[in-house]
């Protein structure tokens, strides 16, 4: 789970923070929250697809 959290941080930083400013503004925070939710959605989808394929 630690590794997953590290991945999320790196991926969502790249997607959401293109010009780092003096604080996380509200649109960046919204982007990070969405990015994290989508990353988990994707993770669960990949997990399901992979499981059904290797069975």
């Amino acid at each position: 789970a630690q590794e997953l959290l590290t991945k999320i941080s790196e991926k969502c930083f790249k997607k959401c923070i293109t010009k780092p400013s003096s604080s996380l503004d509200s649109s960046e925070q919204k982007c990070i929250a969405m990015c994290m939710d989508r990353y988990m959605d994707s993770w669960n989808l990949v997990s399901k697809a992979y499981s059904s394929r290797i069975q």
């Binding site: 789970a1 590794e3 997953l4 991945k7 991926k11 969502c12 997607k15 959401c16 982007c31 969405m34 990015c35 939710d37 989508r38 990353y39 959605d41 994707s42 993770w43 989808l45 990949v46 997990s47 697809a49 992979y50 394929r53 290797i54």
Partner: protein, 65 residues
């Protein structure tokens, strides 16, 4: 331990398919993106199998690479 290995595999696949299928994160995964992710996983597995087979042939034919 097997669980850790499974999660590592999923992390790797998700990394690749995220880069392949997601441009900007949005409020939900639409069906087009979902299809892309599922296809991505399956084509990446196909490609892995294809390459592993071809690689084994190469090594046999050349006695190494």
């Amino acid at each position: 331990q097997q669980r850790a290995q499974f999660q590592e595999q999923i992390n790797k696949f998700n990394d690749i398919c995220w880069e392949t299928c997601i441009d900007k994160p949005s409020s939900r995964l639409d069906s087009k993106t979902e299809t892309c992710i599922v296809n991505c996983v399956n084509r990446f597995i196909d490609l892995n199998l294809f390459c592993a087979q071809k690689f084994a042939q190469m090594i046999q034919q050349n006695g190494g690479f």
